[in-house]
């Protein structure tokens, strides 16, 4: 038992803990609240520890941990979102996730954004609906592959691709609005 315990400690220290900062960054952007983000990361590590025997050493610990965190967040989110008269979020997503929708490019000039502060960009990202900011965080910030994202979120790769495309367009649109309001540029007509 002690030997098993030591092995589990090694896995935890060497394969799980190094992803702590990335998990906290993800949790922070999901919740936009430092205390809630820390709680979520703690819950993730506690769960990972409890199920450490089902983790195969040397496999994709980062994706496994992100999946645990994302599920914990969704569970909390669903509990809080169960309000009468609220928009049915799943319906909204299903509508916006259609894979066969044409690939429209939001033609933005990135130079407009370059002067923006990190806080402003973070705010624009955090204002996106949760499932859209999730794909941006996983792909653009954490560098997960489409396959890994598909496993973490539990949706098809085709849906990952279209959701990512829409999310980027939504963010560009939001950033353009911010840039205009903050006086970095004049709003285009």
């Amino acid at each position: 038992m002690q030997e098993n315990g030591n092995k589990a400690d090694d896995v935890f220290n060497e394969e799980f803990l190094p992803h702590g900062d990335a998990l906290l960054t993800f949790a922070y952007h999901l919740t936009y609240d430092e205390a809630q983000a820390e709680d979520l990361v703690q819950e993730t590590f506690m769960k990972a520890w409890r199920f450490i025997d089902s983790y195969q050493r040397g496999t994709n610990a980062k994706a496994w941990l992100f999946k645990i965190l994302k599920n914990a967040f969704i569970n909390d989110y669903r509990k809080k979102a169960k309000r009468p008269h609220s928009v049915d979020y799943e319906d909204f997503l299903a509508y916006h996730d259609s894979e066969d929708s044409s690939y429209k490019d939001l033609d933005t000039n990135n130079e407009v954004f370059q002067g923006m502060m990190g806080d402003e960009v973070t705010k624009a990202l955090n204002d996106l609906p949760v499932n859209f900011k999730t794909v941006i965080l996983l792909c653009d910030i954490e560098g997960f592959t489409y396959e890994e994202m598909s496993a973490i979120i539990g949706i098809r790769i085709g849906t990952i691709r279209s959701r990512l495309h829409r999310a980027r367009n939504m963010l560009k649109d939001a950033l353009q609005g911010y840039a205009a309001n903050l006086g970095y540029t004049e709003k285009e007509h």
């Binding site: 400690d9 702590g20 506690m46």
Partner: protein, 92 residues
Amino acid sequence: MGIRIPGRHNTNCRCTDERVEMALDGALSRKEQERFLQEVKLCAYCSEKYEREKSFKQFLCNKVSRKALSPSFINSLKEKIGKQPGHGRFIN
């Protein structure tokens, strides 16, 4: 700022907006990626789109704030885990 006039899409070009994003996200095979990078150079529209999407991805990566766990958080986490049954005492 003015109105940006995009380059023209070469009629022989097989790149699509979707493929541009896949190339940037590392979702093409090595062979496909090599072919894409050759093809994209020949099309003003696609090379412009590729550069624009690349710089947007880089911009996000640079600007979105990152967080780091504090040593006190890690210590308290290890303490809590050490109290969990099943795997013996947690060794640092």
